[in-house]
Symmetry: C2
Subunit: 117 residues, 2 copies
C-alpha cells in the first residue's frame, strides 16, 4: 500500500494522529477485504445462506441456484480457501456446510442493514 502520493495537506492533524495510532497492518486490511470479497457476489451469498440452513451437496446447490456444477464448484473452492465452508466426502458425493458461525452473524447484520432504510 501507500503507493501514491496524496495531493493535499493534512487538515486535522490531531484527529489524524489519533486515528493513525489505531491503524491495522497492510496485511490485515488485505485479509479483511479478501474475506469480504466472498460475500460480495450474490451467487456466493446464496450458497452461504443456503448452507446456513443445512448441509448440501454440489448437485443440491446447483439445482437450488439453477447453475452448473462447475460454476458452483468454483465458488465453493473460493469459499473453502477463505475457511468459510468445510466439506466431507461420502462416496462420490461431497457435502458442504458452514465452517463456523461467523458467516451467519455477518449475513444477519448485513440483512439488518439493508432492511433499515
Amino acid at each position: 500500500m501507500a503507493k501514491y502520493e496524496c495531493d493535499c495537506e493534512v487538515i486535522h492533524e490531531e484527529a489524524l494522529n489519533k486515528v493513525k495510532k489505531q491503524v491495522l497492518s497492510d496485511d490485515e486490511y488485505l485479509d479483511l477485504s479478501d474475506l469480504f470479497k466472498m460475500f460480495a457476489d450474490s451467487t456466493r451469498v446464496r450458497i452461504l445462506h443456503a448452507l446456513e440452513k443445512g448441509e448440501l451437496c454440489v448437485c443440491d446447490l446447483a439445482n437450488l441456484l439453477s447453475m452448473t456444477k462447475s460454476a458452483i464448484s468454483h465458488q465453493l473452492q473460493s469459499l473453502r480457501l477463505m475457511n468459510l465452508v468445510k466439506f466431507r466426502k461420502e462416496g462420490q458425493v461431497v457435502y458442504y456446510s458452514l465452517a463456523d458461525d461467523h458467516v451467519k452473524i455477518i449475513l444477519d447484520i448485513g440483512l439488518e442493514h439493508i432492511h433499515e432504510d
Copy 2:
C-alpha cells in the same frame, strides 16, 4: 437469477426442500452482495476502519492512505450510496463519519475470523 439450467439431478430432495422454504428474494441477495462489495476492497476497508476511530475530512483520508483526493472521493461516494457513511459540510471541508454501528460490527467479526486460523 435462475438464468442457467443445472446439469444434474437433485440428490437430497428433503434437505433441499427444507432449505428452499427459507430462501430470500433475488433482490435481497443482490442488495446483500452489493452491501458487502463495500467491504471487498482494501481501500474502502481502510477508510471505514479509520472513520470508526473518528470523523475525518477527505484530505485527512487522502493523507492517511497516501492516495489522491479524487480516489478517496470516488470511494466515499460509493460508501454513501450504500448508507455506510454520512457527511456534513463546513465551509469547503466535508467531514465524513460512519452512518451507524453495523460497519464496526461487520469489521470486528471479519477480524475475528481472519485471526482465527
